[in-house]
């Protein structure tokens, strides 16, 4: 395993595994978020569950997952940029690959920018100040049209990122062939839609019904 991590495929495997781990986190995150639709009590109970010790243990692992995914993505992108010192004058890439697949790093960077805002909005308050009702903080924030729009756009960007990322993760660890590729692509689109719609429902809900 000596130089595995420095090889191109090894680096892709790291991207793949950290990405799949982050998708797992998103599933948990979305499930808790959707409790918002069931009222204040349900969501606050969900937040309390997230305070349990075994979840606390996973938190640094999650942070590490993000950091690894971001650092390796940056290393790979820099290497890929260097691999073609002179660019083409004319390119017609829309004919041979999808837009998200070409722009994973940009999509990822935008999601990261959103993540910074998101942490300032909620996580920071949940963590470092006494919040009487998490539900109230969330609803108050998402009722503001500016935040609602930002959260909806971020959800769509995340969906686009995952529409390529999910199946690509399996391809990178070698789990794909002509049959499974189609299946994985469908599952990727399924996850992309679930995350994009699931995370946008909440700002839309609070925009309409929030008081």
């Amino acid at each position: 395993m000596s130089n595995f991590l420095s090889s191109s495929i090894g680096k892709k495997v790291i991207m793949s595994l950290s990405g799949l781990f982050l998708i797992l986190f998103l599933c948990v995150h979305l499930s808790v978020n959707l409790l918002l639709l069931f009222g204040e009590e349900a969501f606050n109970a969900g937040c309390e569950f997230m305070e349990l010790p075994f979840i606390k243990v996973i938190e640094p692992v999650l942070a590490l997952g993000f950091i690894i995914h971001i650092i390796w993505a940056s290393i790979l992108t820099i290497q890929n940029q260097k691999a073609r010192p002179q660019k083409y004058a004319l390119r017609n890439q829309s004919k041979n690959c999808t837009w998200p697949s070409r722009n994973m790093y940009i999509l990822g960077a935008l999601v990261l920018a959103f993540l910074a805002l998101h942490i300032c909005n909620f996580w920071y308050y949940f963590k470092f100040s006494e919040v009487s009702s998490q539900y109230e903080l969330v609803s108050k924030t998402l009722m503001q049209p500016v935040y609602a729009v930002i959260y909806i756009i971020a959800a769509i960007l995340l969906g686009l990122h995952i529409s390529h990322g999910f199946w690509s993760a399996f391809q990178s660890i070698g789990f794909s062939n002509d049959i499974w590729r189609k299946r994985l692509e469908y599952v990727a689109y399924f996850f992309a839609i679930v995350f994009a719609v699931g995370f946008s429902i909440l700002p839309i809900y609070f925009l309409i019904f929030g008081k």
Partner: protein, 253 residues
């Protein structure tokens, strides 16, 4: 039925004196091209025109002109081997272009494929990758009797599909990361699927990937652009197999 005639075409061609010089686009007008002309024949006509004007003809790679040698290249109107799918540049015909069109012609652009002159690039990088392990060095004896070595039809077909690779370089040229993974995958896959090649599969996958990385090709991000531009339509499922072979080999280390 006579072929249609394209009255005028504007060609934007990359001209570069040698590897060290800085290149630039030159614009040429060319007249009365039959739609039955192949793209390379059109360039031959341009060169005749240039020679008659006492100008240096455009240098481009070509050999068999029937899509099997992998010598021709060219990035035409933003796509490797031009706008048609599943063909090499030599199989591309002028009927794909409209009268009065402007056609942009560039060499493959990749750090690992430096331009030698005009539209010709040095593709020795692919040969170096092959030399690192794209062969069978164990003694496999003479030609075996038919069916003496049982190989499933699926494996035989897949190996044959991978073996269709002509090493033209379109995959790395078109990849946004300039990755050579489809080429390496085709070679690794072709041999790993057959009993004679399986013996050295682990060593081959490691050596060829190491060489590919060393030569400065980029990292695969699974966009799938390579398989779309591959004149032999080699599927990226072979890249998945390469990843598998490489991981298996590394886990054993």
């Amino acid at each position: 039925m006579a072929d249609k005639i394209l009255k005028e075409l504007t060609l934007k061609v990359w001209r570069q004196k040698d590897a060290k010089s800085k290149g630039a686009f030159e614009t040429y007008k060319i007249h009365n091209i039959s739609t039955g002309t192949s793209f390379l024949e059109m360039l031959d006509i341009l060169n005749e025109q240039l020679v008659s004007e006492n100008k240096e003809p455009v240098a481009f790679d070509h050999d068999c002109r029937e899509g099997i040698c992998g010598t021709c290249s060219l990035f035409i109107d933003g796509r490797a081997h031009g706008p048609d799918d599943d063909v090499t540049t030599c199989q591309l015909h002028m009927r794909r272009f409209e009268d009065g069109a402007t056609i942009t012609i560039e060499p493959w652009r990749s750090g690992a494929f430096p331009v030698i002159k005009d539209l010709i690039v040095d593709r020795q990088a692919y040969e170096k990758i092959l030399q690192a392990g794209g062969y069978v060095s164990v003694n496999t004896g003479g030609v075996p009797d038919g069916n003496a070595i049982p190989i499933s039809n699926d494996n035989a077909e897949e190996a044959m599909d991978a073996a269709a690779c002509i090493g033209c370089g379109a995959c790395a040229a078109t990849c946004k990361n300039s990755s050579a993974m489809l080429f390496v995958a085709a070679k690794v896959s072709q041999l790993a699927l057959l009993p004679q090649g399986k013996i050295e599969a682990a060593r081959r996958a490691k050596a060829m990937v190491a060489k590919m990385d060393e030569l400065g090709f980029g990292n695969c991000t699974n966009t799938g652009a390579c398989e779309m531009e591959c004149p032999k339509s080699i599927s990226i499922q072979h890249i998945a197999r390469l990843n598998r072979e490489f991981l298996k080999a590394k886990l054993k280390d």
